[in-house]
Amino acid sequence: MAEPRRESPLGRAPAAAPNRLIERPSVRVEELPFRAILVLHGRTGRPRFAQGVAQVLGRPPPDAPNTFVETRFGEEGVVIAWAGPEEWFVIGQEEGTSGLRVALRQAIPETDGAVVDVSSGFTLFTLEGRRARDLVAAGCSIDVHPRAFGPGRCAQTLYARTGVSVLQRDETPRFEMMVRRSYAAWLWRWMESSAELMAVE
């Protein structure tokens, strides 16, 4: 029997992205495939939910809309991003090998919250460099100017007409964009031609 082989959502469309890297002096885009992505449901007002999350991730999920927090699961860097009044995305490192889902499931009583593994439904891109902000702004209607957006801020919106979550990870600026896997190639092509139209060096 053949060994099971992992193919990233973007890697399935090699014609769209032969080298799978947009690399220009002022902006760099790369796929971050195979990340552990969970949807967490619950009410932070319910102690057994908030404490369960805090027990595993060191802190409860953020209540402020459109914000995320960076935390750790053991050695692993993890993000908890607000997705709705009772819903968050938990984004960890390696899908499958990460014990995140099991740990959260064990810490949160089933009556107080839900943990769903959606890793295989999404992929992530990182956008960094001097003009990364321009590339984000080119595809969506949210205000990503530093006076309105910044590190720790996230938003679910339409980018290039498809639903994405955008997270600003730092001030350099570095962004992450999470998209449904079947839109990976579409988004990639869109960003590639936008970088060209913007005359990104």
């Binding site: 459109n66 709705g84 009044p85 209607s141 949210i142 938003a155 919106t157 339409l158």
Partner: protein, 85 residues
């Protein structure tokens, strides 16, 4: 293009939202006691005013929450946004 103030996310582009029709339509507690006319009225008949209208919106491509808005159907000005109780 309208700028709609999601109660959770703040002002967002109209394209992120979906429209849910007239607000505050309550399902009759005992549908089987209704006449056909009353049932049809509940199902199909809407106010459709010229002017202020109370309606439902969903931030479909954002936080996916439903909320209510009072909108002027002539100017499309949104005069009030309020949460579903």
């Amino acid at each position: 293009m309208l700028l709609i103030e999601c109660p959770w996310c703040g002002p967002r582009d109209e394209s992120e939202f979906s429209y849910g029709g007239e607000a505050h339509i309550v399902r009759p507690p005992e549908p089987d006691r209704l006449t056909d006319e009353e049932w049809a009225d509940y199902l199909f008949m809407r106010k459709n005013p010229r002017g202020r209208h109370l309606e439902q919106w969903c931030h479909a491509h954002g936080c996916r929450q439903w909320f209510n808005a009072e909108r002027d159907t002539v100017t499309s000005e949104i005069v009030r946004i309020y949460r579903v109780e």
